[in-house]
């Protein structure tokens, strides 16, 4: 359990944004995730982004599925309505909410299990429908809340807690999103605030479907025997109690900071290395084909391309497609929506 949020008593010295709010006003309740969990870093980045954007928290709706990642919305934006729905179904619930009120900002939070396994279909079709929302996947390559099984985004051959190698290819959600017509697609690392916060801001400001795949190490279940730096006591101890996970070490959050156009090797808690390649101006993020190729070529070289991968500034969103009015549908009184008895006579006549 980490204490990323302090008691809400305001300290006069706290900086305030244009709405005269402090960061605290954008925080949620105390996180119950493992100390050092990447998800908490992303939570902090979301708080920072909303604060800096001067967003009125109550005009934001935060939705999620089920998982450690899907718990995260409880830990940010306490003044926003939240909806922790069912596993893998955040996209459909968000679609309905968005149809009802186009004026709110919709932030959807999901996990790689929630999105790439049970929720793959809903994810793909929300993308295709150009739903106006920010969709953040806290991607740790495993099912955290159910204790570390592989997820579909887990890299081939990466061993899990129990040391068996993963035989299947990873699903690259960014590539899939671009292919399915997402208007805004970016990827980052939970510990890279410098890159993550601006990406979140850009995603929230984007009108249409904005997707962020954020690599977010799972402290607890990426700690496997194949790891270069292994915690003998811990592992031996946990092995002692058969398939019960028992002892979870408190870890430090992994942070990284590197310049555009450079790569950075991040060492995860288990000692395995992740090579991030931060795209620079050389990458034309307006070209869909190029974006897909950039992702693929980096992958071929064992690297993960990070940054803004693709954006299409001129996209319609679902409301444009459906030609809804500017006024949110949930604000139109039923009296105005009901054609009334006169009209009904005409209707009856047509059935005579």
């Amino acid at each position: 359990m980490t204490y990323i949020t302090k008691p809400l008593a305001h300290h006069p010295a706290l900086p305030r944004n244009a709405l005269d709010l402090t960061r605290r006003d954008y925080e949620g309740s105390m996180s119950t995730l493992c100390a050092g969990c990447g998800h908490d870093s992303i939570t902090a980045a979301i708080i920072e982004a909303c604060f800096e954007m001067d967003l009125p928290a109550h005009r934001i709706a935060k939705l999620s599925g089920i998982g450690c990642s899907s718990k995260a919305p409880t830990y940010f934006l306490g003044r926003s309505h939240g909806f922790n729905s069912v596993h893998g179904r955040m996209p459909s619930v968000t679609t309905g909410a968005n149809m009802a009120n186009k004026d709110l900002v919709y932030i959807g939070v999901s996990g790689d299990g929630d999105t790439a396994s049970i929720g793959l279909g809903q994810f793909a079709h929300a993308v295709r429908r150009k739903l106006n929302m920010t969709y953040i996947v806290m991607n740790n390559g495993c099912y955290g809340l159910t204790k570390g099984q592989f997820s579909a985004t887990n890299d081939k051959a990466s061993p899990s807690k129990k040391g068996e190698a993963n035989p299947f290819d990873a699903i690259d959600l960014c590539q899939m999103a671009i292919q399915l017509g997402a208007g805004f697609v970016g990827r980052s690392f939970s510990g890279d605030k410098k890159q993550l916060i601006p990406l979140i801001k850009a995603a929230i400001s984007y009108k249409g479907f904005a997707f962020l795949d954020v690599i977010s190490p799972c402290v607890t279940f990426n700690n496997h025997s194949a790891s270069t730096k292994s915690f003998d006591y811990v592992r031996a101890h946990n092995h002692a109690v058969e398939n019960k996970l028992d002892f979870v070490e408190s870890q430090e959050e992994i942070t990284v900071s590197y310049a555009e156009g450079t790569t950075a090797a991040v060492t995860l808690h288990d000692g395995s290395r992740l090579i991030l390649n931060k795209l620079d101006h050389g990458h034309d993020f307006r070209d869909r084909d190029a974006a897909i190729m950039t992702i693929r070529q980096n992958a071929n070289e064992g690297q993960v391309a990070t940054g803004l991968l693709y954006v299409n500034e001129t996209g319609d969103d679902l409301h444009d497609v459906l030609q809804t009015p500017d006024r949110p549908l949930n604000e139109i009184p039923v009296s105005e929506l009901c054609p009334g008895s006169k009209a009904l006579e005409a209707v009856n006549a047509r059935f005579r």
Binding site: H58, G78, A100, Q122, Q323
Partner: protein
Amino acid sequence: MSGTNDFVIKFATVNGSGSASANTIFAKTLFRMGIPVSPKNIFPSNIQGLPTWYEVRVSEAGYTARRDGIDMMVAMNPQTYANDVAEVVAGGWLLYDSTMPRLWQRTDIKVLGLPIAEICARIWKDPRQRQLFKNMVYVGALTGLIDIDLKVLESVIADQLKGKEKLLAANMQAVQIGREYALENFTCPLPIKVRTAEGAKGKIMVTGNEAAGLGAVYAGATVCAWYPITPSTSLAEGYEKHARRFRVTKDGHRNYAIVQAEDELAAIGIAIGGGWNGARSFTATSGPGISLMSEFLGLAYFAEIPVVLYNIQRGGPSTGMPTRTGQPDIISCAYASHGDTKHVLLFPSNPTECFSMSADAFDLAERLQTPVMVMSDLDIGMNDWMTDPFTWDDSRVADRGKVLSREELEGFAKAKGKPWGRYLDVDGDAIPYRTLPGTHETMGSYFTRGTSHDEYARYTEDGTIHARVIDRIRKKFDTAATLVPKPEIDTRDPAGKTGLIYFGATRPAVLEGLDMLEREGVRINALRLKAFPFTEEVKAFCAAHDRILVVEQNRDAQMRQLLMVEAEVPQEKLLSALNYDGTPMTAAFVREVVLKLVEPAKAQAAE
């Protein structure tokens, strides 16, 4: 008993051959002549080339239930010829395409040969026209045979082809040809014939799905999410059709959002998201969709989110008989989803109620903050019913339930003497107050979740709190019982101890059956359920009768089960009359099951 304005005529054709519209035109014409008619479309799960039937009962008395015993068969499908011929009652008529003569086993019926193919080949060159107008030719022959008013027929065709006058002329030409052939070659009119009447005056002819879609427009529904599935598809289409007519603003904006989802899980998820966010939202589906929606229904039940679900029932289990009717989802809907759940159900019995109960459904869903399912079926939903016209009371005010405005939220503690809690029962009716996202900068935000929560919507793993919350939700069901539509009670024998309980599409059959029985001196009291949970009236009716026959269209007597469990009716009182072959119920069936019960001897004799 058959004769003028009282007979059944059945059309046996091939689907995709253009017969459906010809048959509809036929039925609509009699209807416009003021004659009560009830057409039943018996179609295959297929697009082209399989047998399809259209049964039209004509009843001056106004009985619209299906009736066995075909007086006239219009046999246009070689594939099903033998069976079709066999269905005709002795002394009945058979109209067929005599272009290629056939062998007959039956001498006890009158065979009318009409060389349709030959005629059409003679008159039209375009193969499409040849095929299409075949249908109008047999309709034409019928105008002669049963004495249909040509003017009325023309008006019906004209309405259907508005704006395509040259088509109207061509169609009427086909009608004339058929008519003339009939007048020349047969002794017209036959003993079964029609004459202008009053019974249908003032009524309308419409399908339940179109009525329900229109009802959703009138109820103020703005979010519709659906996935195609027979027989519910035309409900979403009906909503769209009428929304386009009534919901488009001057500047061309649409005051509604329809999403064709990728599957049923998404459809209900979208509807729930819309309901959570304060829009009247709904979806429509059938059997398989209900199963797929059940996880989400549990979420909406436990998180207390209003949503309306139309279940247009069809023959199950599994994919079953997608183009046949039934009432087999009572239990799966009443208790949809794992864990302890109970859901509010409404049972319309005809298109007029599909329309009116739509408004009720949305009011109840928002008042009770829970899913409400409208249990229609294929017979009501897809067949044209002669039914009472739609009415709307302009003074009706939609019940949006306990949704707090910014001001009410600020004044809540003062007004109620308790701080606001999303799941706190302050009024004693077990219904808490909800807030919508965006209502207030600092007040009213909360976290909606399917995990256990306390009265303030806080996550909890404390079992006593969990038990307290689900007890309150169960209590909400008692409140529901005071709000749902009351049953329709037909008391034919105030002192009678035998009752009959039914619901939905079987209404015409039951009422006609009870009329037959009454004529035979057997008076039975009947109650038509309109909703679940059961109201006091239902319990009183059960208490007042010693033997109750529960009539339903499923195998396992599911409504009887609900009555035993939820209305605590002693089971020995409850007897079952079940029909689950996918066809609409007949009055004869009702008469027989009742007689078996009250006068076994007589029933024996009857068989």
